[in-house]
Symmetry: C2
Subunit: 251 residues, 2 copies
Amino acid sequence: MTDPALSPDPTFHRAAGIALWRQIADFLRSELRAGAWPAGTALPTEATFAHRFGVNRHTVRRAVAELVAEGLVRSDQGRGTFALGERLAYPIGRRTRFSEIVGRQAKAPGGRLIASGLEPAGGWQAEALGVVPDTPLLCLETLGVADNVPVSLARSWFVAERFPRIVETYTETGSITAALSRLGVDDYLRRWTRIRARIAEPAECERLDLTAGATVLIAEALNDDADGTPLHVSSTRFAADRIEIVVNAEA
Amino acid sequence: MTDPALSPDPTFHRAAGIALWRQIADFLRSELRAGAWPAGTALPTEATFAHRFGVNRHTVRRAVAELVAEGLVRSDQGRGTFALGERLAYPIGRRTRFSEIVGRQAKAPGGRLIASGLEPAGGWQAEALGVVPDTPLLCLETLGVADNVPVSLARSWFVAERFPRIVETYTETGSITAALSRLGVDDYLRRWTRIRARIAEPAECERLDLTAGATVLIAEALNDDADGTPLHVSSTRFAADRIEIVVNAEA
DNA sequence: TAGAATTTGTACGTATGTATC
DNA sequence: CGATACATACGTACAAATTCT
């Protein structure tokens, strides 16, 4: 029943205007960095911490929520709270393709179609694709998986008139690159990528198997063909505690 | 005293296994997107929402915390909760420089030295700079400001032996580019950038004027000179609700 | 300028729900 | 099925920051 914390249990008081939960979060963060709980191992329970630190369980919960949000730990209802490890690299360049990317670091990368549909181009999609607003677009929502862990949730939009069979072709091939290739597009390049970050919405948490409060990196991108004609736009949400985006200079 | 919500107050019940606070967050998110509260305007108080929705104030707080984390609103103790607006673009390319960047969209960009010191190269800094671990590095911590709003908090590391006077020169010029230029480096290029995201730590919240629970985008980068010799590495934290990173392809 | 009112932040307590072991 | 552990939701009280009087 001894636990692997490196330091003796400290006591916390509301001193110097620092909230108790912050002091506790700071303490746990430094313990995690010092290796008190290696990746994958379980931290003591909330109740245990509450007792050892002499605070209410809610105060511990607030501190743990902070660490979840920082991507250091993950909480699973009914199981416990677990330390997380390093992130996978997701390189972005002119020739970014999901399948080739994660494939070098993880086994069994793959895409799964979650939903698809026809929707009118709105706002930035129309502008990026160079079509008038409300032009019919085919939208594919796909889940990227590496080593059986979901890492990305992407929405891709194509001009329906140009790629009327993109959904069926994606379903058959399981890859945007392969689908486009079969539809006569041998090569495409990424024109630009916009990267944002925010906390995951509930629907994203479910798909990406994230706990509430986790962060998503959002990459919106425009891809065009060799002639510079816009091909498709996409908005990909990554689990920020599993992925980092890498931008390499290309000579 | 009428408020500008577009929809009538809904009532929430713990149905279909969806937590009350999630339903409330979903509702407020859609109202925000529909323009119920334009950027800069105040939302009704927590107590008001609690009364109107027929729930406890803490339940409203949990929902609002979610929106804060998503970068949609910001809460200020003693003042209220305010809707946020669009993000500034921060382009990344071979020739990324802070001063030129924000300058095109916002007035009065500038850098301020917050701290500096000598520290041994550790881990990724040593690897990136191509020096042995524990090589003495000079570290500058700087705050990037646009329109009097802090947008970035950067740490830059230089090999101390090569740039012994980088701190003084930065203090005089207020810019890394200008300081390097005065030290004989006319040009430098960005070799790579790694982008992560997580919730801001307390110290970052204070510097970047963020509320607890806000998200930071973290860009770690290596810059080298025309010969390909590593010049300096940096780790920049951006307020994710004020900035988006843009990666443009360069022909 | 002092103080009251307002509004968000912290911390506690209690009870119950839900998922896992 | 029971025990464990995290999740939700209520209540209460006070602290801290801001704004109004």
